[in-house]
Symmetry: C2
């Protein structure tokens, strides 16, 4: 903690690197000696061109993207992507495979069906309350893409390996684990991520799309819902969410220059999650809700012996400067969201608190 | 100017009140003693509930809205509204009247037509290069709404009075003059405004909609494109653009508490524009592009005797700490955008510079 800052375990919007926040604060009245705030500069200026181009280049370096991919910034969150993906990628007779691993996948499926698209739910972990990631899935060879949610914030599960789809491009909602680890990009056709967990403030969604998919489906869409509107104008057909893109650029810079790149970021994230899962596994008071081989490195979901104890735990933790530990309102329990920006220090602080709470309440 | 800040005449993103920027900066690492940045707090927290509810209440007070209206925050800018409005308000057999006063109206019309809607362009000022606001328009009594752009940033024109539509609700793009003056709300069915001119940073669009219009058209729309998704969830069906809404709330507070309300804001804006137009009218070197009775109080568009002089003017003004005076790339010339946050001091500074530039170059 610095001054009065807490350890922030919010699921999203979530903790951002302190050095990023400090840089935003320091230059907030005068961005790069422009005499203007970043919130006041024109998106048609060289100041902003540098910001957005730097962000795109950092994404390409971090994920080792080649020229087959566009990096776009779209508004409306992942929820708008649930509609844009089938609208843009599927022609009227096309079909897609979807893997259902929880709340967000379920919404993505429902939205594609609402668009009148042919959707095959080829695997689901609903039979065990979404506590695991399905394996050995048979895909439909004629499907245009396979949609999955790489990390499930509410149920606390995560794909460690991405399925072998026999060449069908994977379309992945990575809102909660983008840039937390290197990715086998050859498997992906489209990756999307609402910024407010691992990337920046809410209000900007990053879309990484293989160029051949941009115009693969319906052409007659509203201008702001066509990927080509963004890909042909460097995401600036209309005014983009400048402050969000600026913050994302700083977060990407932090990953590259302070954390040492995405492989180091992954190592750090594994170590952080290990500290927490080891403590939970060593206890009979705390239990995780996800099956062991599917546990998320980003959202550690766990239960206490009773709902009363859980309420007390969250409240007492708050008093100790550990915020955001309440589970999603749809499932209850507790959840520690430990995205890229969560520090190792915060893991130790949480584990220490958990141990003392257990001693007092066992 | 404070420290190294310039006089910012950008068309959008544009100048924000300095006191608002200072408040954001001061609390950026610790919002309301939460121990988190405003960019890190959950949209499901009481902290953010207070922000969004305060913003909505301030809108209602400033515009004297009664309970017939919702105040919503949507992403995607005014450009997405160009599609959402006909999608939501027009059933398959419905038609709408559109008034064409320039670039943005033209785009709104094109998008409604793209949605397959029946659009009547009942008036246009295209015959004189959009230099005036059409008067004495005959509307189609069966049209569901009349769409207009209240202020035209590129051509520098503005509706002073809103037309008598014989009860047909007006749908207005007020991106560039919302909260610059009181409004006869009984005439309006829907008002929308991208925030980045008079309200806050880019990435948030305010939509004020009469409740009976929310579900008046097509029901089978993508979730994120239905107004009812926003109106039933206080704009928080998914994660809203929190930083944008927070800044908007501070700007509205500034209008109410520092500027003295919307009537005072209008007086201030008239005085500011008068200073600039009086100087231009007194000169034969500068000429406005808009007809006198249609001149915008927000975007003062003017020409110099030659394009070379215009280039020189913009460059020299920049060197003197007067930024953003270049006209829109589609029309050339010069433009001073003097939204709510532009100070009287900046008007005097601009006029002084204009006079000295004229003397040197006449």
């Amino acid at each position: 903690m610095t001054d009065q800052r807490i350890y922030n375990f919010n699921a999203g919007p979530a903790a951002l690197p302190l050095s990023v926040l400090e840089e935003i604060q320091a230059s907030f009245l005068n961005f790069k000696n422009s005499g203007m705030s970043i919130t006041e500069i024109s998106h048609r200026s060289s100041y902003f061109d540098e910001v957005i181009n730097d962000a795109v280049e950092r994404v390409k370096r971090l994920l080792k993207l080649d020229d087959r991919f566009h990096v776009l910034f779209v508004q409306g969150g992942a929820s708008l992507q649930f509609a844009m993906i089938p609208m843009n990628l599927l022609a009227p007779d096309d079909a897609a495979d979807y893997i259902n691993t929880g709340t967000w996948s379920t919404k993505a499926i429902a939205e594609a069906q609402k668009m009148g698209k042919s959707v095959h739910v080829v695997a689901s972990s609903e039979d065990k309350n979404f506590s695991y990631i399905p394996q050995n899935i048979a895909f439909n060879p004629s499907s245009k893409f396979v949609h999955l949610t790489s990390n499930n914030t509410i149920k606390g599960t995560q794909f460690y390996e991405f399925p072998d789809t026999k060449g069908i491009p994977i379309v992945a909602d990575m809102s909660s684990d983008i840039f937390s680890r290197p990715l086998p990009m050859e498997k992906f056709g489209l990756i999307y991520a609402g910024a407010q967990k691992n990337l920046g403030p809410s209000g900007t969604c990053m879309v990484i799309i293989r160029k051949d998919l941009v115009d693969s489906g319906n052409e007659n869409l509203p201008t702001m819902l066509k990927y080509s509107t963004y890909s042909t104008k460097n995401s600036m057909y209309n005014t983009p969410p400048c402050f969000g893109i600026y913050t994302i650029d700083l977060v990407l810079k932090w990953i590259e220059e302070e954390m040492g790149g995405i492989e180091k970021m992954e190592e750090h994230n594994i170590k952080k999650a290990d500290v927490l899962y080891d403590a939970i596994d060593a206890s009979s008071f705390y239990t995780t809700t996800a099956e062991k081989y599917s546990r998320s490195l980003m959202n550690v979901t766990f239960r206490l012996p009773s709902e009363d104890l859980e309420r007390d735990f969250v409240e007492r933790a708050n008093q100790h400067g550990l915020g955001g530990l309440k589970g999603h309102r749809s499932v209850g329990g507790c959840r520690a969201s430990i995205y890229n920006a969560a520090s190792m220090e915060s893991m130790y602080a949480l584990v220490e608190f958990m141990e003392s709470f257990e001693k007092e309440n066992k």
